[in-house]
């Protein structure tokens, strides 16, 4: 008789793999990516490809030459980080700034913590915030949404303000938020929502973190709006503008840097929502989602400790 396998139970396992999960998130990002490329043209393609390729190559190089471990790029997590980083940058970011971002994301925020699963902060967001602080001019200059210019080589992009900047300067309107100028991934909320629906249908993520961020933003900015309608955005505009959609659907729900339990996720989401609105309205930056998520990332171990799962028979 041939040698039989012997192992402890269970003897079957799900078909789901880490790679499949990462691939699903990448698929969910495709509508937003397509919109970004459509409206921002060649420059956006350059940013995205530099970002994805450099992230993957960096992770491969670090595992091979520094850590001397088997390569982990096949799990697609580095590609996902690269895509998210690219979508978090303005389309006219110079390629070398993107490259620095990739080094920070993969080298500093991910691999120095021990690679996938070990990092405390979302790598793409760490890189975005690092670039925002280091190169504030590049990071806050956005091209206007002009398809014709975007696909014409040799024409410099015309820069335009984001809805949030307009509001900060007190002359924004709700219509500005629907197709908004901004970081590449933020222009179309609709594309992001399609991605969200895909993630939920494929059961890649649970909706609680995202929904609690939305609810908090709506309620908090609603209170502010009712208190002083002239000074603050309407709640709906607040929710749909800037990076809240991208952040709440794709960044805050990152497995590694979000709490494990539903209850923890809701606390995490409420924290992000509150911090975002606070930074937007009283901070020096027009947008606060990145900072809010990073700050709440730091609280995840604590939230995990406090929000234990409810156990069977231990009411």
């Amino acid at each position: 008789m041939q040698k039989m396998l012997v192992s402890p139970s269970p003897h079957i396992h799900t078909d789901l793999t880490t790679r499949r999960l990462m691939l699903d998130v990448i698929i969910a990002l495709l509508p937003a990516t397509a919109v970004a490329v459509l409206f921002y043209g060649w420059s956006e393609l350059l940013v995205l490809s530099v970002s994805v390729i450099s992230c993957v190559l960096l992770e491969w190089a670090i595992t091979k030459f520094l850590l001397k471990r088997p390569s982990t790029v096949s799990d697609l997590s580095a590609a996902l980080t690269g895509l998210l980083l690219g979508l978090n940058l303005p389309s006219i970011t110079p390629w070398w700034v993107v490259l620095i971002g990739a080094v920070v994301a993969i080298g500093v925020a991910k691999m120095s913590f021990g690679g996938l699963g070990q990092n405390v902060f979302n790598p793409a967001l760490v890189a975005r915030v690092f670039l925002l602080i280091s190169f504030p001019v590049f990071m806050t200059t956005w091209a206007s949404l002009d398809m014709h210019n975007a696909w014409t080589i040799g024409v410099d992009a015309v820069t335009g303000p984001t809805a949030l900047t307009l509001f900060k300067e007190n002359h924004g309107a709700v219509k500005d938020v629907l197709m908004q100028t901004g970081s590449a991934g933020e222009i179309s909320d609709l594309a992001l929502l399609i991605g969200f629906a895909y993630l939920l249908i494929r059961r890649v993520i649970k909706p609680w973190i995202t929904l609690s961020i939305w609810a908090t933003v709506l309620i908090f900015s609603g209170i502010l709006y009712l208190a002083a309608p002239g000074t603050y955005m309407t709640p709906v505009a607040a929710l749909l503008s800037g990076g809240i959609m991208l952040g709440s659907i794709f960044m805050a729900t990152d497995y590694v840097t979000s709490p494990m339990t539903t209850r923890g996720g809701i606390i995490f989401g409420v924290g992000i929502g509150l911090l975002t609105i606070i930074i937007r309205n009283w901070g020096s930056y027009p947008e606060g989602v990145s900072f809010a998520i990073l700050i709440m990332n730091a609280f995840v171990p604590l939230i995990n400790k406090l929000c234990k799962s409810r156990k069977f028979g231990r009411a």
Binding site: K3, M4, L5, V6, S7, P8
Partner: protein, 282 residues
């Protein structure tokens, strides 16, 4: 401008003085009186904190030595007699010398001797595997080969031999702390006397099955035939449960048993190689 600098210096200096006083007072108030000899003993310890002595670490061992007032029950297997002499000197006590020991792997069930009959596919741990079943071979007593002992060794003295699938002890690194003995779920590893120039004789098998069953599972198994016990002039060999055991306190390293053993289960190591010619003359 200079005002700011002066104030800064003054405030920081003042803070430093006040806080250092607080620290001093607190440190004095909560000072724990400890026998200063514990520190001295700890200094001569190897500092590996391996727990081989039975205490939580070198300091706990030192504290126990000081407290007991004698060294009868305390021995540091890692530092050996040298360390114990130093400890004795520090404390002004006497210490009995102990023969140096070494970890011995009592299984010779290499891939060749002991064919695999199944393939273990669970978590690579001898402990997990032994909880599940007899192991990959038909010998329910022998080495499982997942290397729990290697992981337990703090001194890098154990490694798995890829060829045989068995752990190998590096005698120069082994400190006989006994961590591997505890880690092995099959109880294969034993601390035995190292012997003069490392020479020692031992039964490299722990199979308690009847001879036929043991032999079927592994060609190098001890079949409990008792030939070795008969030939031993020192009465060092006992056979119980179909398994021979050599008492290293009694063994005089004559190696008669090694020649007598029909399965080659008795091993003699570190003996100088005899020239081949001599053997043929015998």
């Amino acid at each position: 401008m200079s005002n700011i600098i002066i104030w800064t210096i003054v405030v920081l200096f003042g803070l430093g003085v006040i806080l250092s006083m607080v620290l001093y007072l607190v440190a004095n108030k909560f000072k724990v009186q400890e026998d200063p000899r514990i520190d001295e003993v700890e200094k001569v310890m190897p500092g590996a904190n391996c727990g081989g002595c039975g205490f939580a670490g070198c300091r706990a061992f030192a504290a126990s030595c000081v407290e007991a007032g004698n060294l009868d029950n305390n021995f540091c297997p890692v530092g050996g007699n040298d360390t114990m002499k130093k400890v004795a000197a520090v404390l002004g006590l006497e210490v009995k010398e102990k023969a140096p020991m070494v970890a011995v792997v009592r299984c010779n069930g290499s891939c060749q001797n002991r064919p695999r009959t199944s393939e273990y596919d669970g978590y690579r741990s001898c402990k997990v595997e032994s909880m599940l079943y007899k192991g990959e071979t038909d010998c329910a007593f022998g080495c499982l080969g997942c290397g729990d002992c290697v992981g337990a060794c703090a001194f890098g003295a154990l490694s798995m031999d890829e060829q045989t699938g068995l752990p190998v002890v590096d005698e120069s690194k082994c400190t006989s702390c006994g961590a591997c003995v505890k880690a092995c779920p099959k109880g294969i590893i034993e601390l035995r006397r190292k012997g003069p120039r490392g020479m020692r004789v031992f039964v490299s098998c722990v199979n308690k099955e009847k001879g036929g069953v043991a032999r079927k599972a592994c060609t190098a198994a001890c079949i409990g035939c008792g030939k070795c016990a008969k030939v031993c002039a020192q009465e060092a060999i006992t056979v119980a449960d179909n398994l021979a055991y050599i008492d290293f306190e009694k063994c005089k390293l004559c190696k008669k048993c090694v020649e007598e053993c029909p399965t080659g289960a008795i091993h003699a190591v570190n003996f100088p190689q005899k020239p081949k010619v001599q053997k043929e003359e015998e």
